[in-house]
């Protein structure tokens, strides 16, 4: 028996359930597979006769491939073929595109662009042969490489002009007008992009490392020009994504074309350098913040402008202003986002596109306003929380920023007394604290999942939704166990396979609330069937520990039959009548070395309101991840591009500095209780991105409080601290008697 459930009545039901497992800190159900190394990732499926492919990438920035000399490579031992099919894709697909990106790799748009694939019997043979392909180009002269070199395109949807900001700046008792730059970021997921494609003459099966199979299958079908129903995509375990695996990547299409051509399975794994150079970068940004406030610190004007970049033809534009539109009050507003077209690698989604860099800049400016106005930074935020969206007057679906600020400050031990930089010193180290608000817009996406309650009283949930480390496996087991009244161990979660109903994909932090809602709806349909069999109203159905109403067992009620329903969640129209976001507050204590400008984070805390908690353990882990990324954004992560050919220079994990163990201290997370009934039927919002939307500013603001260096760029590296230190620092030191041992 199978029906489709589509309505979304928004009525909170989960709190009426009896099993009591939803929200509980259940250890992740895929944990054992992961700690024993038995969880299989894309490249790890044992497939007989699998050939190995390695991509050849361009060594010019812009132009045309005029000749691909494959002679030398093809005569090398083990080399099977060179694939230069015009269907190869030149870049990774942007999230939710659902169609192929630019193909035909004879046209080169950035240094490092894939142009061909070498296939050999072994990986070493293929890697070597890829270096022996001689490529001739017709290079275009002087491609634009720097955002400052071109006239940018205004993103009109983001432009807001309300009141008169310039006048407000003049009228303000306190104002801040500051420019802040952020460097580009890489997702740098630990598992490199990889695919094994196997064409059996009828159907193409691809094991790939992807976040959104529901879109990816359309993208691959479009790229290959074959029907979707001939394709099966499998991604049961994904070694991190952070935006870089939203869309299909060049390895997926290359492996597929090679398999179809060679009629044998082909594996393509990108090298780490290729992952850096031809997947996605977060755009660098230059931002201007203008804040105008009354003498008490109340905002009357708010300005946020940003310049970002991308390749010609790419739609994605780092949405820097996304949460700035509704974060703070201020009736006079100017917001504008500009996009520069340059020939650097594709810019796209990296964890929390927009707020990851927009919020730190805004929150650094807020710290400057707090200093100017003499208002405590926490109080300044509290007094500027708007009652409704300041640009479109929509109400907020739920808004927990104030609670996050208060609970966070309390848990951190925030000193609300007068603040002055350079007040605490231990040996060589200045010590200071800082805070910042955070926000991340909330979205949900259409999702389907099938839930089956089997005659033996166990359940199965099936969807093509992925778990990229977020905890999808576990929260789905908890959702079904809660709704159907059973131990989560009795729920089999079968995900990451396009043979199953289409989920929402993992991205934009919408995964859990969307797929959780679909599972909720499927379970509710099953409950209605059970209620009919038990002769009670669904609302009165008491399911717990495999029993109905504490009496008959589920097995008994099912009587040898199984019940199966597909839950189909569609975002409700009502959501459009609200502004919905997760909110948070970040607090950090840092030490800055007086001599060298090195910064260490001593401790950090985040308090977050994000709707219903589905699993306290995995939710906390997501926030730990966000805080860790905040540290990277604040201190270490920066993509560097060559000024002459635009290639990504620091294209490996030795020189692109993701935080290491020693960079990350004990982190505290406060989960602020919230139910957001508008956000989703299960009253949950996103977690994965919120944890880094502003956190870097808490660290930057703490650096200022520690040593007096107001660094107007992220990351805040030792050299930038030294360049911003007050000039009289040594003199001050002596006055403070801190330079012991010095005359």
């Amino acid at each position: 028996m199978s029906t489709t459930r589509t309505e979304n009545d928004g009525k909170a039901r989960l709190d009426d359930m009896k099993q009591g497992v939803l929200g509980e800190p259940l250890p992740r159900i895929d944990g054992l597979a992961k700690v024993t190394g038995t969880a299989r990732y894309a490249a790890e499926y044992p497939i007989d006769n699998c050939a190995e492919g390695v991509l050849v990438t361009s060594t010019i920035t812009h132009g045309t491939v005029t000749r691909l000399d494959t002679q030398a490579a093809l005569t090398m031992p083990g080399v099977i073929a060179v694939i230069d099919d015009s269907r190869l894709i030149t870049r990774a697909v942007q999230g939710t595109a659902g169609e192929a990106p630019q193909q035909a790799p004879v046209t080169v748009c950035y240094w490092g662009q894939p142009i061909a694939l070498v296939v050999a019997e072994s990986f070493e043979q293929a890697r070597d042969a890829a270096k022996r392909i001689h490529v001739e180009y017709d290079a275009s002269p002087n491609p634009s490489l720097s955002p400052d070199d071109v006239t940018p395109e205004e993103q009109e949807d983001d432009t807001v002009s309300q009141g008169d900001l310039e006048q407000a700046m003049k009228d303000a008792a306190h104002s801040v007008d500051v420019r802040i730059a952020t460097k580009g970021h890489a997702s740098a997921a630990m598992e490199p992009h990889a695919a094994i494609a196997d064409w059996d003459g009828e159907e193409l099966t691809v094991h790939a490392s992807l976040q959104m199979l529901n879109y990816n299958i359309s993208e691959l079908a479009d790229a290959l020009d074959i029907p979707e129903d001939k394709i099966r995509l499998i991604a049961r375990f994904v070694g991190g994504g952070f935006g870089s695996k939203l869309g299909i990547s060049p390895d997926v299409v290359a492996a597929s074309l090679a398999s179809i051509k060679l009629k044998r399975p082909v594996r393509v794994v990108l090298s780490r350098q290729q992952v850096f150079q031809c997947i996605m970068r977060r755009s660098e940004t230059t931002q201007r913040l203008r804040l105008a406030a009354t003498s008490e610190g109340k905002l009357i004007g708010f300005g946020h402008e940003a310049l970002v970049s991308n390749l010609p033809g790419e739609e994605f534009c780092e949405p820097v202003l996304q949460s700035s539109h509704f974060m703070y009050r201020g009736e006079n507003r100017e917001l504008m986002l500009n996009l520069a077209r340059i020939h650097r690698m594709t810019a796209g989604s990296v964890r929390a596109p927009g707020e990851a860099v927009g919020m730190p800049a805004l929150e650094a400016a807020m710290d400057m306003l707090a200093e100017k106005s003499g208002v405590d930074p926490v109080q300044l935020r509290l007094m500027n929380i708007p009652d409704k969206d300041p640009e479109n007057d929509l109400p907020f679906s739920s808004h927990k920023l104030a609670e996050c600020l208060r609970q966070g400050a309390d848990a951190f031990g925030w000193d609300a007394g007068p603040r002055k930089a350079r007040q605490r010193r231990e040996g060589e180290w200045w010590i200071g604290t800082g805070m910042a608000s955070g926000a991340r817009i909330h979205n949900t996406m259409e999702s389907r999942t099938r839930v089956t309650l089997s005659a033996d009283g166990t359940a199965r949930v099936e969807t093509d939704m992925t778990d990229i480390g977020t905890g999808t496996y576990t929260i789905l087991a908890q959702m079904v166990a809660e709704m159907l009244g059973m131990d989560p161990a009795a729920v089999r979660v079968d995900i990451g396979d396009t043979r199953h109903p289409r989920g929402p994909g993992s991205g934009g932090s919408w995964g859990a609330s969307s797929i959780g809602s679909a599972a909720f709806l499927a379970c509710r349909a099953i409950r209605e069937d059970l209620a009919a069999r038990a002769g009670v109203a669904e609302e009165a159905l008491d399911l717990r520990d495999g029993k109905v109403g504490g009496g008959r067992t589920l097995v008994d009620v099912l009587g040898g039959e199984s019940l199966s329903h597909e839950g189909h969640y569609k975002p409700a129209k009502a959501q459009e009548e609200y502004t919905a976001a997760g909110f948070g507050a970040f607090f950090a204590q840092v030490r800055v070395n007086h001599f060298t400008g090195e910064t260490r984070v001593d401790r950090m805390l985040g308090a977050f309101g994000f709707g219903r908690v589905l699993n306290r353990r995995t939710a906390r882990s997501q926030f730990l991840g966000g805080l860790t990324w905040s540290i990277g954004t604040a201190l270490t992560e920066a993509l560097e591009f060559d000024p002459r050919d635009g290639h990504l220079v620091n294209c490996d994990l030795a020189e692109y500095h993701v935080p290491v163990h020693r960079d990350v201290p004990d982190l505290d997370v406060v989960l602020v209780e919230e139910r957001d009934a508008i956000a989703s039927p299960i009253e949950a919002k996103g977690i994965g991105e919120l944890g880094m939307c502003g956190g870097a500013a808490a660290i930057g603001n703490a650096i200022y409080n520690a040593c007096g260096a107001r660094v107007l760029q992220f990351p805040i590296t030792p050299d930038s601290v030294l360049a911003s230190l007050p000039r009289d620092s040594c003199k001050l030191l002596r006055e403070a008697g801190a330079m012991r041992g010095l005359a």
Partner: protein, 328 residues
């Protein structure tokens, strides 16, 4: 990697002889060589495995110094009781470099020969005089944050990336080299690495037909030992600037100041004149600046790495300030 044959060298002199072939490389830990072979920066047709040769011991020398075999791992050196006791600057320098996994594999000889991390050297599609003589230096007008400010040439501004050799330089250690005929010669570590000049591909004194067999440390010099490394992560990052120092202060004046610097040049930077400024004088800020002036008198930045000049000054000041505090 390009295809190669792997042979096992039975003795150091055989290994030395094998290197007469320009397409042969010796491999011990392999952590740097294989890294570069995968990128095809190194393309030997033969690797001679020397990892099982009898050069993996640390022994006392007759004069009370220490002989560290070329195949002693970085870990074995750093954890050796005498190194920790008598040459802590060396243990500190090694522990500040790389990771435990790499130090467990990397060897003394290999680490001395570690090649630069210059972004352009490691990309075979970019011009680089070190990798491809005459092709030009991409770093001079490129991304040069990690690059040298001392002893550069118009051919190359790469840095030597290691830490161990910086400490060995401060300690005035000797590199022992075996020739193909079985005879040995030795070179002070301070002279082992070369400045780029017009031959940036020549990085050290080791010639064809030679193999490093050991490094000897002189008898313990006492004093307080410091290795201060400034980097962009708190661990597992190459030095922006590092300072190795052996310092003695008696009665408030410097009686020993052996200083070597990493991250600034194509070699560990040692100049006896820097320490000489300090000797016999009472510590103060102005004196530290005087020493830094000697260190940096010929320093030249290339834009992005200009900061290394003040950073070197400040790091030296940090080390000397610490030494003064410890001596008090």
């Amino acid at each position: 990697m390009q295809p190669f044959e792997l042979v096992r060298a039975p003795s150091p002199s055989d290994a030395a002889q094998l290197t007469k072939d320009e397409h042969t490389r010796l491999i011990a830990g392999g952590t740097n060589l294989l890294d570069l072979m995968k990128l095809q920066v190194e393309t030997p047709s033969r690797l001679a495995d020397i990892s099982r040769l009898d050069c993996a011991e640390i022994t006392d020398t007759p004069d009370g110094g220490l002989r560290i075999g070329a195949l002693v791992t970085n870990t074995a050196t750093a954890v050796h009781p005498r190194v920790r006791q008598d040459y802590p600057v060396l243990a500190r320098a090694i522990l500040a470099g790389a990771t435990q996994q790499l130090r467990n594999k990397a060897t003394t000889g290999g680490n001395l020969c570690q090649r630069t991390r210059c972004f352009y050297f490691t990309k075979i599609d970019q011009p680089c005089n070190k990798r491809d003589p005459g092709s030009g230096c991409s770093a001079i007008e490129g991304v040069a944050k990690l690059h040298a400010v001392l002893g550069t040439s118009d051919q190359c501004i790469a840095t030597y990336p290691g830490d161990m050799a910086v400490a060995m330089s401060a300690l005035d250690a000797e590199v022992h080299i075996m020739k193909e005929d079985g005879t040995e010669r030795s070179v002070p570590v301070r002279d082992f690495h070369l400045l780029p000049g017009d031959t940036p591909w020549r990085e050290n004194e080791l010639g064809r037909g030679e193999m490093i067999t050991a490094v000897t440390l002189p008898p313990p010099v006492g004093g307080a030992h410091y290795y201060r490394k400034v980097r962009e992560r708190s661990s597992y990052a190459f030095a922006l600037v590092s300072v190795a120092a052996v310092i003695e202060i008696e009665g408030g004046v410097f009686t020993r100041a052996d200083l070597a610097f990493g991250g600034l040049a194509h070699k560990p930077w040692f100049d006896p004149a820097i320490g000489a400024v300090l000797l016999g004088k009472a510590a103060d800020d102005a004196l530290f600046d005087e020493a830094a002036d000697v260190l940096l008198q010929s320093a030249r930045g290339f834009g992005e790495n200009d900061f290394k000049i003040p950073l070197a000054r400040r790091t030296l000041r940090a080390v000397l300030t610490q030494a003064v505090e410890d001596a008090a």
